[in-house]
């Protein structure tokens, strides 16, 4: 099965989880997701998700000058974002348990 399609449903949770670890920026979030094995999700999808999370008030952003090029946009989780992460994680656990029960013999 195409991992990309599966990931799209939980991308918001994954991105939120990465940002919850520490304040970070887009490229680093992508690198973290890829290092965790969640590759193939698409850079544009991650940036789009970041925008949606920010619009929803789950993350905030700030610009910081970078030595290597344009200013970096750093994201941090808000209290609402943490609550969303807890809620999303619980939902994910339920779905995973249900799916495990179905797919495992």
């Amino acid at each position: 099965m195409d991992q990309t399609q599966l990931l799209k449903g939980v991308l918001e949770l994954a991105v939120l989880a990465v940002i919850a670890q520490k304040e970070t920026y887009g490229y680093e979030i992508l690198s973290t997701l890829e290092a965790a094995g969640l590759d193939g999700v698409g850079d544009a999808s991650v940036y789009g998700t970041l925008r949606r999370l920010e619009q929803a008030g789950h993350v905030t952003s700030r610009l910081e000058a970078s030595d290597s090029g344009p200013a970096r946009k750093y994201y941090a989780v808000t209290p609402a974002g943490r609550a969303q992460l807890v809620s999303g994680t619980a939902t994910w656990e339920r779905v995973r348990s249900s799916l495990d029960a179905l797919v495992q013999p």
């Binding site: 850079d43 544009a44 999808s45 090029g69």
Partner: protein
């Protein structure tokens, strides 16, 4: 900057522009933020990254971005205006206003005609003033004078250039003028020269000379006329025009003895 870095920057810029083009319906600020983030992202990519392979075609990148961010495609005039950069919108409005003002100014200048009949009018000797107009009687070789006072009734100065009466009129005469805002009955006393007529000023212009036969032979009792204006040539800024200053009454010229056919028909 070496060639490789330059090529890479051009490649980035082309990619960014194509993505931006796909997002052109979004409000300018939103699009600007997304493009700035993409620019920052591209700057982070390792040297040698195959851009289309890593990010996909620009159209696909824009579509994925739009989909993940929940950005619907916007249509209509409001969306069109919001998609423009505010500074550019202001520039366009200022530019259109200036163009409108310039067109308005040109139209206004093209129609500016401040000359009107003053208070004085001088018809040839022996003129008969009737209810339906004035009748000037032609007397070949006798002194002739015909003129009127013009006034500048509006707010800007114009330059008066002359009185181009038609050449077929039956007189040989020169144009004279008064000084502006003359007093008393001075009337036209100096040969005409072009002059500036200021707002509120008035000047008397008159043709003085002798009656003489026109180019055509006019038989006794004949005549021509119906003229009811005094043509005054003037200039205002770059425009030169003729004002048809209406006479108090239209006039007609009659020829009780006609014109002698053996006379010189040449006319000035």
């Amino acid at each position: 900057m070496n060639a490789e870095v330059y090529v890479r920057r051009v490649e980035f810029e082309v990619y960014i522009r194509r993505v931006e083009l796909e997002l052109r319906d979004l409000p300018w600020k939103q699009r600007h933020d997304l493009v700035a983030e993409l620019r920052g992202h591209l700057a982070e990519l390792p040297v040698g990254t195959d851009l289309p392979a890593k990010l996909g075609p620009p159209e696909q990148y824009a579509a994925d971005l739009r989909s993940a961010a929940g950005l619907e495609r916007r249509r209509g005039p409001i969306a069109f205006l919001r998609a423009r950069r505010p500074r550019n919108l202001i520039l366009i409005v200022v530019l259109l206003t200036l163009i409108g003002l310039a067109i308005g100014a040109v139209v206004w200048i093209d129609r500016y005609q401040p000359l009107a009949f003053g208070n004085a009018y001088q018809a040839p000797l022996g003129a008969d003033f009737g209810f339906k107009g004035d009748t000037f009687v032609f007397h070949e070789g006798r002194p002739f004078i015909f003129g009127m006072e013009i006034a500048n009734t509006r707010r800007f100065t114009v330059r008066v250039l002359g009185v181009p009466l038609e050449s077929y009129f039956p007189w040989r005469a020169r144009l004279f003028m008064s000084v502006p805002n003359y007093t008393g009955a001075t009337m036209a006393s100096v040969p005409f020269h072009s002059f500036d007529l200021k707002p509120g000023e008035r000047v008397f212009l008159a043709y003085k000379g002798v009656w003489t036969c026109p180019a055509g032979i006019i038989s006794p009792g004949g005549g021509f006329g119906g003229e009811d204006y005094f043509p005054v040539r003037y200039s205002f800024l770059w425009r030169t025009a003729t004002a048809h200053v209406r006479l108090p009454e239209p006039f007609e010229i009659v020829f009780p003895k006609g014109c002698s056919p053996h006379k010189d028909r040449t006319h000035p």
